[in-house]
């Protein structure tokens, strides 16, 4: 049961540097700086924190009981008893003093910015205090109560892996207040019974929007893979988690991983592989090399985007291009950062995509600080590579439009623009955006209107979705100006996601694709039939949920 509940002022004039020195014993003892605690407090400061409620947690408190037991099992086998303590910190954007604690239940949920459980233990191996955030829920970063503009999402900031979490705070030893935070789960390895792989897997599972489960802990992962803390010492006689161990943990939740390594030139496009899954709300774990000779893994939660990026268009003109596939640029070319949690640094960091793509001038043999591989966590049965879907979409769209032109069909203005972009000298790119979509989400996405105010009729919506499986790869094709300025698309292309990678593309791609929606028409490949569509102009790109509003530029 939590006890010793304290209400601490954290507004202007109250330093988090002092606060951290009290609650992070690694920092107060002077042997290290607790980067994660500083990052957490910095985010809270940015979002206008005014108060922190601190609770002492008993070793038997349900959230920490298994973690305490694991640490004690590990250390107490040979080194006597373990000094260990836990606190829960609740960050609130309302000014409260110690007499106001009873007001907490009156607060709206959006006043709760974060909730973190901090564990301190004295490592008997070296007699040093070690402090880590065992778990935290932190609200999605946003500007709160700006003097002129009010509360706003961050500009061009797309955190796709998040959910609504239940948390609680004790008002006194007998009264608990339950509330919800929309944000994401974060945790740190303790480097003894858990490593970064545990943290990354917990963050992946606990933030997965399709899973409605209690928070998964590192100890539950250890139990699943049969770790005995009296025999196994992570970072000594066991490194991270092996693929089959990861498979067994994810398999419990009906999830599956797909994997890609980034060797040689492939590293230049590592972000494109990741982006397609993240845009699909499939969590991705990115592993990169460090100069310590071991790899580190971080979960990717989303991305930022710069719609004024020069590169996607400029490189078609200023660099060598080859073949019709090179006229198409994935929308990943506009992504400038991945939003990550790094358990060594903290939550909601922006990882510039070029930082792990290898330096332009690098020393021979310098293999540190590069993307090594990524594992995307997908629903079971999703096995078709998105790249196969995207390349096929490009080839089918070009073939159809060129054939129509060849047969003397008068093309609509957007189809003409599409063809003239790739036939221009020099060419302009066509933007492709490929993501895994559920049929029910696609149905919701076609409720809107095109640029001229046209909408799909109910019969057309039925025709559009009649032949779609429950999940599929959707590739949207558009022009750079429509993507960056209007966030609109011209063509939708539909491809299965449950077929193994093609071994005979010359045959497979003609048979595999499901359908294509062009301006004013729909071609269904399976039944070889064409239907008219009322939507003739560019139409809003697919967006999954409207739960969190985005601020686009």
């Amino acid at each position: 049961m939590p006890h010793n509940i304290q209400v601490i002022a954290a507004g202007l004039g109250h330093s988090f540097f002092d606060f951290i020195k009290i609650y992070c014993r690694d920092e107060s003892s002077g042997h290290s700086i607790n980067r994660v605690a500083h990052r957490l407090c910095s985010l809270m400061r940015k979002m206008g924190v005014k108060t922190v409620v601190v609770e002492d947690l008993e070793p038997t408190y349900i959230e920490v009981e298994a973690e305490f037991l694991a640490l004690r099992t590990f250390f107490e086998t040979s080194l006597g008893t373990l000094e260990i303590q836990a606190n829960r910190l609740t960050f609130i954007s309302e000014e409260l003093d110690s007499h106001d604690v009873s007001r907490i239940p009156e607060l709206d949920d959006d006043k709760f910015l974060g909730s973190a459980i901090l564990i301190n233990f004295k490592n008997p191996d070296n007699d040093l205090w070690h402090t880590y955030i065992f778990n935290a829920i932190v609200a999605t970063p946003k500007i709160i109560n700006h003097k002129k503009y009010g509360t706003l999402p961050l500009l061009n900031y797309y955190p796709h892996i998040y959910k609504n979490f239940k948390r609680q705070v004790y008002i006194n030893e007998f009264v608990v207040h339950d509330y919800k935070i929309t944000g994401s789960f974060f945790c740190q390895q303790n480097s003894v019974t858990s490593v970064c792989a545990h943290a990354a897997l917990c963050m992946t599972l606990n933030n997965h929007s399709l899973l409605n489960i209690d928070l998964v802990t590192p100890e539950q992962i250890n139990k699943t893979i049969g770790i005995d803390h009296q025999k196994i010492r992570f970072l000594h006689n066991k490194k991270g988690l092996k693929k089959d161990e990861v498979d067994s943990v994810l398999g419990k939740y009906g999830l599956y991983i797909t994997y890609k390594s980034f060797l040689g030139e492939e590293i230049r496009e590592y972000h494109d592989y990741i982006y397609k899954y993240i845009e699909s709300r499939c969590p991705v774990l990115l592993t990169f090399s460090t100069d310590k000779g071991i790899d580190h893994v971080v979960p990717i939660l989303g991305h930022t985007l710069n719609s004024d990026t020069w590169k996607p268009e400029a490189e078609l003109i200023y660099s060598k291009v080859g073949g019709r596939l090179s006229y198409f640029k994935s929308s990943s070319a506009y992504v400038d950062n991945f939003i990550i949690h790094d358990d060594n640094f903290g939550m909601y960091y922006c990882l510039p995509i070029h930082s792990l793509a290898g330096a332009i001038f690098e020393l021979a043999g310098d293999t540190a600080f590069k993307a090594v591989y990524a594992t995307a966590v997908v629903p079971f049965g999703v096995i078709t590579p998105p790249r196969e879907a995207e390349w096929t979409s490009v080839l089918v769209a070009i073939t159809i439009l060129e054939k129509l032109q060849e047969k003397g069909t008068e093309l609509d203005s957007w189809s003409k623009s599409f063809l003239s972009s790739i036939n221009a000298e020099p060419p302009r790119p066509i933007i492709t955006r490929t993501l895994l979509v559920e049929k029910r989400s696609y149905v919701m996405s076609i409720e809107g209107e095109d640029f001229l105010g046209n909408s799909f009729t109910s019969e057309e919506k039925e025709m559009l979705t009649n032949y779609l499986p429950d999940k599929f790869w959707l590739t949207e094709m558009t022009l750079p100006d429509l993507y960056t300025a209007n966030k609109n698309k011209i063509i939708d292309f539909f491809y299965p996601c449950d077929l193994p990678p093609s071994i005979d593309p010359a045959v497979d791609i003609d048979n595999r694709w499901i359908q294509i929606r062009l301006p004013g028409s729909l071609r269904i490949n399976k039944i070889d039939a064409t239907f008219p569509m009322t939507v003739k102009s560019h139409f809003p790109i697919f967006r999954l949920y409207s739960e969190q509003e985005y601020l686009d530029w």
């Binding site: 792989a197 071994i503 003609d510």
Partner: protein, 62 residues
């Protein structure tokens, strides 16, 4: 199939529809260059091999 009932503010004939309706399946069969076949095969083979690759997540030696 005739044009369906329209809920739009800007319905009307779309030139592309008639042309598309008259295209046969063989008209839109994709012909791949050898380079494109190789690209596809390489990408798909990599994906297939990746599924069998063993790795250590986090804390693994390079």
């Amino acid at each position: 199939m005739e044009e369906l009932n329209s809920g739009s503010r800007n319905s009307g004939k779309v030139p592309i529809f008639d042309g598309l309706r008259n295209l046969k399946k063989e008209d839109i069969s994709i012909s791949l260059s050898q380079e494109e076949v190789n690209l596809f095969k390489m990408a798909c083979q990599e994906e297939a091999e990746a599924r069998e690759t063993q790795f250590v997540l986090g804390g693994g030696d390079r």
